[in-house]
């Protein structure tokens, strides 16, 4: 039982990282109506920035985290301006998706050239002497609790931002009807850039947390968590931030429990089966809205 609770907390910790990534997906999908395939690789870039700042330059972890957030924010805005904006009115979701795949591939190979394929050992942002918390037979990693706490705080902040501030309301308006929003004097381009900036900054945080919990960093670090976080976003209902949170947590728990009790090799297959089952049974996800297709 004790070990089960420890696994559950591990699952929730992994799930909260997925949740932070999934929120980035869900926000971009809600507003720009596109699947930002490169989001997972932004996480990887964020982790490399933090690695360079903390390990190579020897700065304190907080500086690394901030650098990672700022770097990712900038990267997110650049990706949007250079690769996605020219295709916004192309009228083909296939074209945008392939471009996004191209961007994802580009970031991976750029990292491969700069940092080589040798995995780097990421120093956790948690100090050495406080790595684990022990209470009798019960032992968990501090980072697990940090991940869960950070994700809860981020979701609350984001909900406040979206519901209580003018830029947040503008985002909501853009996600509902872009044309009407621009008629009301909302800058659609600015709002989309803001969305990418926030989503990518969160990816930077996720990158640091992910590599603190699983400390090997390679150019491919981001792609699997990125895809799984997309599964989480779909699971929770794409476009909904609380949905992404719940989807992420559930997916993390499913993955860790499947790894422990079923088969470590099949855990990925099980996670993807969840996606397929969700899409077949309830394509809008747990908290998504049904959108009627109009001719």
């Amino acid at each position: 039982m004790v070990s089960f609770i420890a696994y559950l907390i591990n699952g929730l910790s992994l799930g909260s990282i997925y949740a932070i990534i999934a929120i980035g997906y869900t926000m971009v999908y809600g507003i720009a109506k596109m699947l930002n395939f490169a989001h997972g690789d932004v996480i990887m870039v964020g982790a490399y920035i933090a690695f360079s700042v903390i390990t190579t330059a020897g700065m304190p972890p907080v500086v690394g985290l901030i650098a990672s957030m700022c770097g990712c924010m900038l990267l997110g805005i650049c990706i949007e301006k250079i690769a996605y904006k020219p295709l916004r009115h192309a009228g083909s979701s296939l074209a945008v998706l392939i471009t996004a795949i191209g961007v994802s591939y580009f970031l991976q190979n750029m990292a491969l050239i700069i940092f080589t394929s040798n995995p780097k050992m990421f120093t956790s942002i948690i100090p050495m002497d406080k790595m684990t918390i022990q209470a009798g037979a019960f032992r968990i990693q501090t980072i697990s609790l940090v991940c869960i706490a950070v994700s809860i705080v981020l979701v609350l902040l984001l909900q406040l931002f979206i519901n209580r501030t003018r830029p947040g309301q503008a985002m909501l308006a853009c996600s509902q009807d872009r044309g009407a929003a621009s008629l009301m004097g909302i800058s659609v381009n600015g709002t989309i850039s803001l969305t990418f900036a926030i989503g990518s900054a969160m990816a930077g945080i996720a990158g640091v947390l992910l590599c603190s919990a699983y400390p090997t960093l390679s150019p491919y670090t981001g792609s699997m968590p990125g895809i799984k976080a997309f599964v989480a976003a779909v699971f929770g209902g794409i476009g909904s931030i609380p949905g992404a949170m719940i989807g992420g947590l559930l997916l993390g728990v499913i993955e860790i429990l499947a790894k422990t009790y079923i088969s470590s090799q099949l855990s990925d297959a099980i996670v993807f089966s969840v996606l397929i089952v969700v899409l077949l049974v309830k394509p809008t996800g747990l908290m998504g809205k049904v959108v009627q297709e109009k001719v």
């Binding site: 596109m34 699947l35 690769a83 020219p86 295709l87 009115h89 192309a90 083909s92 979701s93 296939l94 074209a95 998706l97 392939i98 471009t99 795949i101 191209g102 961007v103 591939y105 580009f106 991976q108 190979n109 750029m110 491969l112 050239i113 792609s223 895809i227 997309f230 599964v231 779909v234 088969s263 090799q265 099949l266 990925d268 297959a269 993807f272 089966s273 996606l275 397929i276 899409l279 077949l280 394509p283 297709e293 001719v295």
Partner: protein, 359 residues
Amino acid sequence: MNNIKKTSRNNMGTIGMIIAAFVIVQILKTAGMINSQMDGLLVPLCVYATMAVSLNLVVGILGELSLGHAGFMCVGAFASAFFSKVVEQSMGTFPRFLLAILVGGAVAGVFGFLIGIPVLRLKGDYLAIVTLAFGEIIKNLMNVLYVGRDAAGLHFSIKDAASLNLMEDGEMIINGPLGITGTPFDANFVVGFLILLISTVVVLNLTNSRTGRAIMAIRDNRIAAGSVGVPITKYKMAAFTLSAVIAGCAGALYSHNLSSLIATPARFGYNMSILFLVFVVLGGIGSTRGAIIASIILTLLPEVLRFMADYRMLIYSIILIVMMIINWNPKSRAWIQKHRPGNVIRSRREASEAGKEGR
């Protein structure tokens, strides 16, 4: 009438191009002008070109993005290699390989059909991500599949080799993460060429048939096609399954060219599916001939430009982005339409005809 002639002439051009390439390679081979390195590339070249034809059917003609195409190739490769291993002693090389290709294609086709049932209910981004998920699931399952054979017959397991309970004379056929070793080297350039040729002919004929036009109508406007009575699901399934069959045949060719077949991410993972997508995009989405040419160029180029090996994938990704933006950005599209030599005259003629009708 004029239009139909043009398309069939175009198709003859594509098929002629493949045959001409084959003849030239054969002549160079007999003249001894192909070094062993190039010779080793000939079969993979056919595999990749066939995969490009197969993926082009889904992406270009059906208009749905499949990111799990390497998964179908993986199924075909394992099914055919398994078949060849089982009947290795009891059949001659030629019938065995022919049957192995058919088995590979058929099994991949069954997978394509089964996967198509849920997948094709979805659209756009969701469909792409689910095909990706299926591709990864297939790769994962192949890594935990153990099959052995002894006097009592075949044994299956998805745990480990020991739980097969093989007798002493038993041999492993599929050994989990170690895959299949010792598949007979049946593949050669002639067979590869034939597979490529047949799949190209099949796809081109399909495109120009009633079925093909229905499939393209679904691609261009699903709702409009449905409203004039095109059975959408049926045609989507047909195209998707056919594409899986072709991918399975390519996989069979691939596996019989390798001494050990392992479902590694590098061979059958997501990156491989993306590579096929690059072929299709670079060749011009929807153009079978373009896909074949692009796959050949992109397979040969890295071998010729060895010094650029590190930057190869980076360049591919840039090609992907730039091609998509040039081809799909409304402004650049308008520019291309305007400045294409043939189009200047045509658009003028159209404009004057439109003017006449207006009067």
